[in-house]
């Protein structure tokens, strides 16, 4: 196994969008335009860009939740698109996702225990007792309790729900976790808790993260490497310190200049 756990090569994906008066016309939108990236073992690769830049499409395509027009995603050296269905399902336990909206991404009719345990059930890991133990263990790890298993998502706050989403993603001991704006719906104080939790879990479980975000302050704290997307293309990528210190592309420079709070920096220095 090489240095990289996940490699994407020349991903292309476009959508046909209705346009014009009453939507009778069509426009082709390139959501991914020859996107390539490499995710190192145990590291975090941040993908940043504005809305419409193709970050979320990238997330979904990497996990084969959406078919690509062309290009390949290699997980531990194997092309996911070429795997037979049952093998792809097998691999999916290693590829998990944490979603942005903690209110929309949990089934309101399922109990937390069922939500978190569903993956174990589908992948037939352990007997009932073992599955239960594993669910309790991961819930405790993310800061919830055994009693929470019987509750429904609406009984939790936004931050707690995001913890449930994290538990659901990590219960199968995945290798790669795609985090799609995991903290952008949360208050700053809760955001800090969740970011620290994600960092701790990364070390304990040797996780590799693809961290999708539009907040460059957050990215600075979690990422090792960064890829900047603009209109479906990766316009710049590299080690986090290099990009923040000396961005080479005008678009990246603009993004960095737009971070609010520059005046505070001036005040404190």
């Amino acid at each position: 196994m090489g240095e990289f756990v996940l490699k994407a090569r020349d991903l292309n994906k476009s959508y046909i969008q209705r346009s014009g008066r009453f939507g009778f016309g069509t426009t082709k939108v390139k959501a991914l335009d020859n996107v390539s990236l490499d995710l190192k073992h145990g590291s975090t690769l941040a993908v940043v860009g504005e809305s419409g830049s193709g970050k979320s499409t990238l997330a979904r395509c990497l996990l084969q939740l959406q078919p690509l027009d062309s290009g390949s995603v290699l997980f531990q050296g194997r092309d996911l698109a070429e795997l037979p269905a049952h093998e792809l399902r097998e691999q999916r336990r290693h590829l998990q996702m944490i979603f942005q909206d903690p209110f929309a991404s949990l089934n309101p009719r399922m109990r937390v225990g069922e939500i978190v345990g569903e993956g174990l059930l589908i992948h037939r890991l352990g007997n009932q007792e073992e599955q239960r133990e594993r669910v309790v263990q991961i819930l405790k790890r993310v800061g919830l309790s055994e009693a929470d298993m019987l509750k429904y998502p609406h009984e939790f706050s936004g931050g707690q729900r995001q913890r449930i989403g994290i538990a659901r993603a990590l219960v199968l001991n995945p290798k790669v976790v795609v985090c799609d704006e995991p903290v952008s719906a949360l208050d700053v104080s809760i955001q800090a808790q969740i970011l620290l939790l994600l960092k701790e879990l990364q070390q304990e479980m040797a996780l590799s993260y693809i961290f999708i975000s539009h907040d460059l302050r957050v990215v600075r704290h979690v990422a090792d490497e960064i890829a900047v997307m603009y209109q479906g293309k990766i316009v710049e990528r590299g080690a986090i310190d290099d990009i923040y210190r000396s961005p080479s592309q005008e678009y990246t420079q603009n993004l960095l200049k737009s971070i609010p709070g520059q005046r505070a920096l001036a005040l404190s220095n």
Binding site: I190, A192, D215, L216
Partner: protein, 278 residues
């Protein structure tokens, strides 16, 4: 000097639970040409404070005590009609969601023109010219007046909201998380637009946000709220540079800095609950 807006001991409670204070004895004021930022987490009472200034509190909530004075007039003593004269004319308001606060079946030109017709009686060519002028002021090409909201991007819709709220040259603008739903680059544009307008029109601004970065960029005065109480207020340099209250310090500690030098520190609520925060 008389304040533009003066809030004194404002307390808001639910009608059916008069002892639960959602906003507790809140006092602060706003000066012409200055921006006051109210910062806090969800549930701290910042939006309720703004809504009660506009007289838009839900029926389920009750203004238990306190006074809101605008240009020396007590807003609670005004009739519904008089309040309507002030809302949109003297005080403009921008809401958080540019996607949901515009009417989808009316052109943006019509929506920007409506307050001008209602409050100032503008009609015909004069109205058209004024709307074009407002669009230009917020950086939208005037020919877009005939567009519907769904034909605009999020940033453009927020600009339309701003154009609507400043149409009648209000003395004060209330903006409730005006940039939270927007991209950083658009956010920077909107904030500098608001700053320019504030200066050219000498508008007082009440800006509600939970983003300390935004506060640092636009505020003159900062009010920090926690669970209905004001825990600290002062000039932006004092509150951000030398925070006195432990909650303010804790809140500042969980904001990630763009340098990545400072470790993140979540708020220890257990410690705050111990009654150390009064």
């Amino acid at each position: 000097m008389a304040h533009l807006l003066n809030i004194e001991n404002l307390t808001i409670t639910p009608v059916n639970a008069p002892n639960r204070k959602l906003v507790n004895q809140v006092s602060f004021s706003i000066e012409p040409g200055k921006t006051t930022c109210v910062v806090g987490e969800s549930g701290s009472g910042k939006s309720l404070t703004a809504l009660s200034v506009m007289g838009l509190l839900s029926d389920q909530l009750n203004r238990a005590s306190g006074k809101v004075e605008f240009q020396g007039r007590d807003l609670a003593k005004l009739s519904a009609d008089e309040m309507r004269q002030i809302r949109g004319r003297q005080i403009g308001m921008i809401f958080q969601e540019p996607m949901t606060s515009l009417n989808p079946v009316l052109t943006i030109g019509y929506q920007i023109g409506e307050p001008l017709t209602v409050h100032l009686g503008l009609k015909g060519d004069a109205l058209k010219a004024k709307v074009a002028n407002l669009l230009e002021q917020v950086g939208i090409p005037p020919h877009r007046a005939n567009s519907y909201p769904d034909e605009l991007s999020g940033g453009q819709r927020q600009r339309v909201m701003i154009a609507m709220s400043i149409a009648c040259q209000p003395a004060m603008l209330i903006a409730d998380e005006p940039t939270t739903a927007l991209d950083v680059t658009v956010q920077a544009q909107i904030l500098s637009l608001l700053n320019d307008l504030k200066q050219t029109m000498n508008m007082g601004m009440l800006l509600i946000t939970h983003d300390f970065g935004v506060v640092a960029d636009v505020a003159d005065h900062v009010v920090v709220m926690f669970r209905g109480d004001i825990v600290e207020s002062g000039s932006v340099a004092d509150v951000l540079g030398k925070p006195k209250h432990p909650y303010t310090k804790a809140l500042l500690d969980c904001v990630p800095d763009a340098e990545g030098r400072k470790p993140l520190k979540p708020i220890d609520y257990a410690w705050l609950n111990d009654g150390k925060v009064a």
